[in-house]
Each structure stands twice: as structure tokens, then as C-alpha cells.
Symmetry: C2
Subunit: 291 residues, 2 copies
């Protein structure tokens, strides 16, 4: 129940109609008994400065920032976390003593979502599909997981080259390289982990996959697909058929949101077990996720 | 339940901690099945421009404006209703095609709250205590009710004189005058209606009243006190003891809020009978009103 004391949080983006954040964050707000409410605002790029000024004027708790504003919003913030500086993007703003501080919680969401699979990353060789904003956040996360080598492939070679260079120079991953689709099977054989950080396989193109040939995928691999709708992509299905451990992006989505809530409230909320499963069930049901 | 499609409304003021609007408006939002939520923002005067820009940037449905911003906000709006022009104050802003339109719903709240007592005002002589912002809204409402004469009394003579002049020249009330406390009993005898639009008698000073001597108050009078906490002021109790019909300001508060909701949603919502009583009961209970 909203009261006069209730703090407002929001997500801004364009488009915003399909955002899962209000559903997810209001569930967490209720679960953690926080006196807050979370709404979605449809915001155009030319209004970003007014949004940041609005956070201050309205004395809001903070906001999440989503596509396409994660980079442009940085022109208007007062402070940036180290991760924001390195990634050049933010998804969380917080009002602190009249100033706007920017954070990025996607890398932490990726890491927290790994759970017991986290140990697989230590000193591992990782193959990642995609070189956009999500891939950049994952590359940063991989640097914190002490991987040994990151190989990037993207339909645009220059994007893959650029992210490989950034991952090595800025994120300090020891070895980075790019690979063409013709050499992908050799790379899979050489890697322990395959990550899809591209949009290939997302609804409605659920039959598509970054891989055509799964012959190099084995039960020693770990496949992480950032997509959460469908809950099981063609990549995940085919890999699982070969005995591979697979994971989708729903936990990452939840934990990046939880991390925002922790930042805003300065509290170490924990979400796991039955409660986490309940939230995932509600998100699947309310959003009409496909399996 | 807040969803991605949910429209946000808010009230801005300074202070704001004791506002009843979130409780009242969220009850009405639920009752009328509107996909909206209503929060309170603590806003300082130097941030009013950023607030109006924020309504546009966030694409909010609209806001209520309360003390001390009702006049200053007008510097930043694009359009004003006729009532706002006349009163020089607004309590409701609405985003319309990228512009901010200003409305004032207090006069309409006063009129709607009268119910069957409305007919008492036609061609009546009215005595009003107070000459501040609330009194000005009531004076405007009285002009719409076709009263014959308005007599104003205030502890600051100049304020009473100014409002009497405005009520005659701008609001077109046929006869207006001011009166000193020494002549109040003659004025009461000459009036059908007594209105308290001052703060005298409000919590915590519940023993105070604008009247010391009730000898001129009869069962032919109608006493309207804009105060709603306590629910029955010393003025109301003493008048009722003399057989007078009395009314407090709670219905006015509710109907000015309902009018804002109608403006924002472009819908002719109706609130009466058991539903109105339920809302009043919740407001009394949640806010710890005194009887």
C-alpha cells in the first residue's frame, strides 16, 4: 500500500511497454517489506537531462535506466562507479545528498546468477557470441571471475575486435581474441564455457541459434544464454541434448534488479530458494514466457 | 498492483509528510479500477521548474500541488483554466500533448461537498472567517453558487479588504464587505451561512474557535468549517448545540481530489453513499483524526 512516506523508484526506457522491471521490483519490494513503489516511465532521449533533474526535484529514491539510454544518461550524472567508468554505461542511478551517482548492476547480476557454476570460470577459456552492450557487461564480469581467455564472435567483425581489445586493455582479461564462424568448432573444443550475449534465438525467432553444428559441444561444456524468453533457446535445447549443463538469463535479470535495490536501500537483501523460484514463476506466468 | 502500463500521479508540497492525498487517491484509483498509482514527493520551491519539466520527461499523468507551491507553480505551466487565472493558484497539473495545463479543484470540491445544502446558498448572505488561499477558493465557489452578499473577517484587516475587493470585481459577487469582530453578532443575524476558512480550531488547538459568543447563531443558520481534523471543531460543536446544521471539510477534501482524478482521466467518476462513507472511515482511521 502506497503511503505519504513511500519512496518512488522507476525504470526509464524507450520503448518501455515490455519491461519486466515493475513486476519484478514490486515483488521484491513487497518481499523485503520496503516502503517503496516502482513504476515504468516511457522517456525519450531528448528528455534525459530533465529526468535526472526530476529525480532531484521529486526527491526520488533512484531509477533504473534501460535501452537505449544506458550510455547517453552518463552526460547528466554527477558520480560514476568504477564499473560505469570502464563500461561507459549505467543502469542504476541513485540520489545521494543532492547528487546523482551512476552504477551498473548487470555484471554483478551475471556473476550472482552463476551460483555453483561460478567455479567453472576460474582460469577458464570462454567463447562469447555477441559484442554489444550486454556482451560488454559480461566481459567485465568475466574479468572479475579470473578467466584465462575470452574469444568473441559477432556478425560485425569490427565490434568483436573492439570488445576484445577493451576486454584485454581495460578489463585486464589475460588473453582475448576474435573468431570467425568457420573456425567455431575448433574454438568450442578449446573452450569450457559458451555464452550467448547476442539476441539470436530470442522471441519470436525461437528456432534460430548462434550455432548450426553442435558436434563440438560436449557434456564438459557449460552454456549460458542471456535470453530468458523463451526460457529454453534452440542453443540451450541442442546443447542439453548433448549432455551439456545450460542456464538462461532469468536469474541474471533478477539479480541485476536485486543489486539495484541493494544500492538504493543500502541493505544486503538475499533472495534464494523457494522465494527466488516463486518470483521466477510469477515472472514467467505474468509475462507469458515461452518455455 | 503496479504494472509497466501503470500511470503515475503525485502530490508535491513542503512539508508533505502529513498529506492525506496518497491514501485517498490510491483508494479511489482502486475503487474506480484505474491503472495508476499515486505517491507524495517532498519538493522545495527552488525545484518547481524541474518538477514541471519532470512531468513532461517522465510522461506522468499529472500532479497535485499543495502548500506552499500553489501560486509559484504557475510560473512554469503552459495553460491555465479560467478558475486558475482568477484565483492565481493551481492544485492540479495535467500533461496534455506535451504541455502542462493547470487547474484548481478546491472550489469545485467545496460545491460538490454541499450536497443538499447547496440550495441554501442561492441569493444568500454569507459570513466567512479567513482571507487566505482556502478562503479565496471558497469565495470563488460562492460566486458560482449565486450568493447575494459575502462578508469577510480576518485577523489581518488588509487581507479581508483585498479578498472582498477581488470577490466583487473579479468573481462578480454582487455585494461584498468586511466586518470587525466587534460587529460580528449583527452580521451573523443578517447571514444565513457561516463559513470558517481560517485555521482557527485545527488540531492541536481544538478548543479555539472564531466565535466566543454563539448567542446570534440559530437553527436557521448553516455552518461550514473547512477543517476536517478534528472532525468536529469547537465552532461546529457550539453551533450544533444551538440546533444549527453543521458540516466539516472532509467531503470538500475528498471531492477536490476526485475532481483532479476526473481531469486526469477524462472520466466522470461518481463517489457517494456507502463508498464515500467507506473512504471517509478509512481516512479517519488511518490518519488518527479526532472527532
Amino acid at each position: 500500500m502506497i503511503k505519504t512516506s513511500t519512496t518512488l523508484f522507476a525504470v526509464i526506457g524507450d520503448p518501455i511497454a515490455h519491461s519486466l522491471s515493475p513486476l519484478m521490483q514490486n515483488w521484491m519490494i513487497h518481499y523485503f517489506k520496503i516502503d517503496a513503489a516502482y513504476v515504468a516511465f516511457h522517456v525519450k532521449t531528448h528528455h534525459l537531462k530533465q529526468c535526472v533533474d526530476g529525480i532531484k526535484a521529486f526527491n526520488m529514491g533512484g531509477i533504473n535506466v534501460t535501452v537505449p539510454h544506458k550510455e547517453q544518461i552518463l552526460k547528466h550524472v554527477d558520480q560514476k562507479s568504477r564499473a560505469v567508468e570502464l563500461l561507459g554505461a549505467a543502469n542504476t542511478l541513485k540520489l545521494k545528498d543532492g547528487s546523482i551517482a551512476a552504477y551498473v548492476t548487470d555484471p554483478f547480476g551475471f556473476i550472482e546468477s552463476l551460483g555453483n557454476n561460478r567455479s567453472r570460470f576460474e582460469n577458464a577459456k570462454v567463447l562469447m557470441f555477441g559484442a554489444g552492450g550486454a556482451a560488454k557487461s559480461v566481459a567485465y564480469a568475466l574479468s572479475r571471475l579470473n578467466i584465462n581467455k575470452l574469444t568473441i564472435t559477432d556478425i560485425i567483425d569490427e565490434k568483436a575486435d573492439l570488445l576484445a581489445a577493451t576486454a584485454k586493455q581495460a578489463f585486464k582479461i589475460p588473453h582475448t581474441e576474435t573468431v570467425h564462424s568457420t573456425d567455431i568448432n575448433d574454438c568450442i573444443s578449446d573452450s569450457a564455457i559458451i555464452i550467448n550475449a547476442s539476441a539470436v534465438g530470442m522471441m519470436p525467432d525461437t528456432e534460430k541459434s548462434v550455432l548450426n553444428d553442435y558436434s563440438a559441444v560436449t557434456n564438459r561444456h557449460f552454456v549460458f544464454d542471456l535470453i530468458y524468453n523463451p526460457g529454453q533457446t534452440a542453443l540451450m535445447k541442442n546443447a542439453r541434448n548433448r549432455g551439456t549443463v545450460v542456464q538462461n538469463g532469468l536469474d541474471m535479470l533478477i539479480f541485476q534488479g536485486l543489486q539495484s535495490l541493494r544500492i538504493w536501500m543500502n541493505e544486503e537483501y538475499e533472495l534464494k530458494g523457494a522465494a527466488l523460484n516463486e518470483l521466477k514463476g510469477i515472472m514467467k506466468q505474468e509475462s507469458g514466457f515461452h518455455e
